[in-house]
Amino acid sequence: DVKVTQSSRYLVKRTGEKVFLECVQDMDHENMFWYRQDPGLGLRLIYFSYDVKMKEKGDIPEGYSVSREKKERFSLILESASTNQTSMYLCASSFPLAGGPYNEQFFGPGTRLTVL
């Protein structure tokens, strides 16, 4: 089974702190994604990466950065946390083979971040 893990289930930080959220997948997937999930808005893409050291901005990249130094690990960084970044953060990975049967995303358990 594909396993996607996230470093924390719950996190409380203060405004202005630098926050690191880490995601690890064990299925050698090329693609990795970071989303934030807010009620009524569904999942919104922050960043994704299709290879080591490669990254692409999603729909809401402002205030976030990412790092992918190893294929299995994708980190989301909040350079200076703000209260409007309080949210649930979901990591996902996928195998990008076009036409393949396993191209759906596999999700981590999520990190609920509260910024005070």
Binding site: E30, N31, F33, Y35, G40, L41, G42, L43, R44, L45, F48, Y50, D51, M54, E56, L90, S94, P96, A98, N103, E104, Q105, F106, F107, G108, P109, G110
Partner: protein, 116 residues
């Protein structure tokens, strides 16, 4: 840009009954994939069912089936013989391959409650 709409923010169904969740999407693409994901309370998001747009036959997975109407851009999920464990948020998602990566777009979700 693609958009995904789920017009039912909340639904409820009696145990053992059948319920249909609606999803519409907007795209000019011809080749794409559609997914339904389930997110149980405080638990990980998992795939329920997938549909390739080039396949006319509706996908089925045990008690879960879809009604895929490509011309109408509609992708509804039918849950038969509802069980208490089906209580969850359900997200409809659209995906197309883009360059090296994949573009996933999620709807806002439908919260389904199965009542005993």
């Amino acid at each position: 840009a693609q958009t995904v709409t789920q017009s039912q923010p909340e639904m409820s169904v009696q145990e053992a009954e059948t319920v249909t969740l609606s999803c519409t999407y907007d795209t000019s693409e011809n080749n794409y994939y559609l997914f339904w994901y389930k997110q149980p309370p405080s638990r990980q998001m998992i795939l329920v069912i997938r549909q390739e747009a080039y396949k006319q036959q509706n996908a089925t997975e045990n008690r879960f089936s879809v009604n895929f109407q490509k011309a109408a851009k509609s992708f509804s999920l039918k849950i038969s013989d509802s069980q208490l464990g089906d209580t969850a948020m359900y997200f409809c998602a659209f995906m197309k391959h883009v360059g090296y990566g994949q573009n996933f777009v999620f709807g806002p979700g439908t919260r389904l409650s199965v009542l005993p």
